[in-house]
C-alpha cells in the first residue's frame, strides 16, 4: 500500500493523509492512496494543506498501516530517544 506523508506548513509536524478525514498526526489513520498519490499530493500541496510531501511504501498490520522503511517508522513515531516527545510510541522501529 502507498501512504502519503509530509509536514504541516505552519508547525512542521509530520502528517499522514487520511483520505476524507484530511491529514492526521497518527500513521494509524493513514489511508492507502493506491496509484493516486501524485495527483492527491499535487492538489494538497497547492492548497497548502501539506508541505514537502511524498509517497511512502507501507503494509497493513494489526496496528494499522505501517511504513516499510525504518526512516519512515521513526518519522511516524517521533525520536526513539525521547519517548516523552514521541507521538506514536507503539510503532516498532526495528524489524517491523
Amino acid at each position: 500500500m502507498n501512504l502519503l506523508t509530509g509536514n504541516d506548513l505552519k508547525t512542521g509536524d509530520v502528517i499522514w493523509w487520511a483520505g476524507d478525514k484530511g491529514w492526521s498526526l497518527h500513521v494509524a489513520d493513514a489511508a492507502d492512496a493506491g496509484d493516486e498519490g501524485e495527483a492527491i499530493l499535487a492538489r494538497e500541496e497547492a492548497a497548502r494543506r501539506v508541505n514537502a510531501s511524498y509517497i511512502v511504501a507501507a503494509e497493513a498490520t494489526g496496528k494499522g498501516p505501517m511504513p516499510l522503511h525504518i526512516k519512515e517508522r521513526v518519522r511516524a513515531s517521533g525520536p526513539t530517544v525521547r519517548t516523552d516527545l514521541a507521538i506514536n510510541t507503539d510503532i516498532p522501529i526495528v524489524n517491523a
Partner: protein, 544 residues
C-alpha cells in the same frame, strides 16, 4: 567579547524583517516551497525528520550569559524545553514552528545573535579553540582573527553561492582542539623566526564521504595579509570547484584533483593579484576588534592551590579542568555527556544555570566546544569547588572529559532526514556499558565519535574509535573504524571490517578496548597502541 556596532545590528535587524516578510508570503501561498526553501536555509531553518530545525550561529563558540540565557529562553518558549549543541560550536532546536521563526530571530537579534550562514553554500560559522584567550599554550588569542574572518565572510557577495558549503577554523596553539586540519581552510596563528605574527594555511581538509586531511599550502602568511590570502584560496575554489556533482564539490576534491602544488600555485598567483587591489582590511580594523577581547580583570593574588580532599571533586578537577594562563585560575569544562544521556543536549533550565554560573564564576563568558560540551574559561581555583557542587546538583558534572563516554554523536536517524541509522541509542548503550568512571579512567583518553550517515557530522573519521551507521537493506548496521584523530596528531580512522548490529557494535567497542588494555605499553593512549600494533590484533578480537 565583540560587540555589534550600528552596522552589524542594522544588518541583522534588516535580515530579520526580510525573513519575516518571506515567511508571511510563504504562509499566504505567495511563495512555493521551492522558492522559499533557499530563503529559509539562508536563515538556518531546515525541515528535518520531525519538524523544522533552527541552527543558531555561535561565532567561534563564544557567548556571554545574556546570550546563553536567550538560548534557554528560545528552548523554553519556542521549542520543547531543550537545545542541542553541535560539532560546529552552534546550537540547534528540533521543534520549531515556521510561524514562530521570525520572532525567534528577532529575539536573537536583541542579544547580537542570528542564524545567518548556518546553512547553504557559503562560508559557515568560523570555528576556533574553545580555550581561546585562556589557554596557557596559545601564542595569541585567535578570536579577534576569527571575528575578522566572520565580518569578512558575512554577506560576502562573491562567496554567497560557492560550489558547496565552506568551513574555516582558526587556532593559535600547537595543540589542536578545533580539528583544524579537517576544515576547508585551517589557519594556525604562529610566530615566524623573526618573531612576527602570521599564519600557516592548511586547505582542503574535511570529513564527509571523502575524508581528507588538509595539506599545508603556506607556512607563513603575514598577519596583515591573512584576509587577502583566505580570499585567494576562496577565489580559486569558486572559479574551479565542481558545480556539476554535489559529492565532488567541496574544496578538498579540487585540491586533491589539481594536486596541492598546482592549487597552491594558483592561489599564490591570485594572492599576488589581490595584493594589487588593496582590499585587505586595514590594520586599524583588526586593532579595533582586538580591543573587544581584553583579558578579564583577573585577581593576580588568587590562590593557586586547590583543596582536593573531596574525592569526587578531585576526580572532576583531574578530568574536566585545564591549565589556565593566569595563575590562580582554571578552565572548567562542563560535560554534556551524562551516562545514558543524549550527547550535546541541554535543557532550558541547564542552559540558564550555565549562564548564571558563567556570570558568577567566569567573567560572564562561556564557550561551546566541537565535542559538544560547554566551557567556563576563567574560573578562580578557589571557587571551583562551589562551581562543581552547583553543576553536580544539576546533573552537569560528569567527570568524563576526553574519556570514552565523552562521545561526539550526531542527531542521527532520531532527528535527521539525511541519516541512515540512529547514533544516539548507540552512544547511550556504550555510555552505559562503560559507566564506571574508574574503568573509563583506566582506558584513559579515548575519543569515540559516531555518525548516523556518511556525511560524518559525528566526526567518525576522526575518532580513536569511530562508528558509522549505515542502512543495510533497511536495517541499521554499524561500521567500526579505528585510529582517527582530529587533534595535532591528525589521522583518518580505518574500517575494521564487516559491520555490527546495534548491540554488536557495543560489544565490538568493548573488545577493542580489551585489546588495548592487553597490549598497551607505558602511558600509551588507545590510539597510540593502535598505531604501534596495527589493525590485525583488533580484527582478530573482533572477527575470529
Amino acid at each position: 567579547m565583540y560587540k555589534y556596532d550600528e552596522y552589524d545590528q542594522a544588518m541583522v535587524d534588516a535580515r530579520v524583517e526580510e525573513f519575516r516578510d518571506q515567511t508571511r508570503r510563504r504562509l499566504a501561498g505567495e511563495l512555493t516551497e521551492d522558492q522559499f526553501k533557499p530563503l529559509r536555509l539562508m536563515n538556518g531553518l531546515y525541515l528535518q525528520l520531525h519538524a523544522y530545525m533552527l541552527r543558531v550561529a555561535i561565532p567561534y563558540g563564544t557567548l556571554n550569559s545574556q546570550q546563553m540565557n536567550m538560548l534557554g529562553h528560545i528552548a523554553r518558549k519556542y521549542d520543547r524545553g531543550y537545545g542541542h549543541f553541535t560539532t560546529r560550536q552552534n546550537i540547534q532546536y528540533n521543534w520549531i514552528k515556521l510561524e514562530d521563526a521570525p520572532d525567534i530571530l528577532a529575539d536573537l537579534s536583541t542579544v547580537e545573535m542570528h542564524a545567518i550562514q548556518t546553512s547553504g553554500n557559503c562560508i559557515r560559522n568560523i570555528s576556533s579553540d574553545q580555550f581561546a584567550g585562556a589557554a596557557a599554550d596559545e601564542i595569541t588569542d585567535p578570536r579577534p582573527w576569527a571575528e575578522l574572518l566572520r565580518q569578512w565572510s558575512s554577506f560576502h557577495p562573491e562567496f554567497s553561492y560557492l560550489p558547496r558549503k565552506f568551513k574555516i577554523a582558526v587556532i593559535a596553539s600547537d595543540e589542536d582542539r578545533a580539528a583544524m586540519r579537517l576544515h576547508d581552510i585551517g589557519i594556525q596563528l604562529i610566530h615566524n623566526d623573526a618573531g612576527k605574527l602570521g599564519a600557516k594555511f592548511f586547505v582542503g581538509g574535511g570529513m564527509g564521504r571523502t575524508p581528507m586531511i588538509g595539506p599545508e599550502i603556506r607556512d607563513f602568511v603575514p598577519a596583515d595579509e591573512l584576509i587577502h590570502y583566505a580570499e585567494a584560496c576562496l577565489r580559486v575554489y569558486n572559479r574551479y570547484g565542481r558545480r556539476d556533482n554535489k559529492y565532488k564539490a567541496r574544496i578538498k576534491i579540487l585540491v586533491h584533483e589539481l594536486g596541492k602544488d598546482e592549487y597552491t600555485r594558483q592561489v599564490e598567483e591570485e594572492f599576488a593579484h589581490m595584493k594589487t587591489l588593496g582590499l585587505n582590511p586595514p590594520v586599524a580594523e583588526l586593532a579595533r576588534i582586538t580591543e573587544f577581547f581584553p583579558d578579564p580583570a583577573y585577581d593576580t593574588t588568587a590562590n593557586d592551590e586547590l583543596d582536593l580532599t573531596d574525592p569526587d571533586f578531585r576526580i572532576w578537577v583531574e578530568q574536566n579542568t585545564h591549565p589556565h594562563k593566569q595563575a590562580g585560575y582554571a578552565i572548567a569544562n562542563i560535560s554534556l555527556k551524562p551516562t545514558g544521556g543524549i550527547p550535546g543536549d541541554a535543557s532550558a533550565d541547564q542552559i540558564d544555570l550555565m549562564a548564571d554560573l558563567a556570570k558568577e564564576y567566569s567573567f560572564d563568558e562561556l564557550r561551546v566546544t566541537h565535542a559538544q560540551n560547554i566551557v567556563l574559561p576563567h574560573v578562580k581555583k578557589s571557587e571551583l569547588y562551589a562551581l562543581w557542587q552547583k553543576l553536580d546538583d544539576a546533573g552537569l558534572a560528569p567527570a568524563n572529559l576526553d574519556l570514552i563516554s565523552d562521545m561526539i554523536a550526531c542527531p542521527g536517524l532520531d532527528y535527521c532526514s539525511l541519516a541512515n541509522a540512529r547514533s544516539i541509542p548507540v552512544a547511550q548503550k556504550i555510555g552505559q556499558r562503560f559507566s564506571d568512571i574508574g574503568r573509563q579512567k583506566e582506558l584513559g583518553e579515548l575519543k569515540l565519535k559516531i555518525s548516523g550517515c556518511i556525511n560524518a557530522c559525528g566526526h567518525h573519521h576522526a575518532g580513536h574509535i569511530g562508528i558509522l551507521g549505515v542502512d543495510r537493506k533497511g536495517v541499521e548496521n554499524y561500521q567500526l573504524s579505528l585510529g582517527g584523530s582530529g587533534a595535532e596528531d591528525v589521522s583518518l580512522a580505518k574500517i575494521t571490517g564487516p559491520g555490527f548490529d546495534e548491540d554488536g557494535i557495543v560489544d565490538a567497542v568493548e573488545k577493542v578496548t580489551d585489546v588495548y588494555l592487553r597490549d598497551r605499553e607505558g602511558d600509551e593512549r588507545f590510539v597510540d597502541t593502535y598505531r604501534r600494533i596495527g589493525m590485525v590484533p583488533f580484527k582478530e578480537a573482533l572477527y575470529d
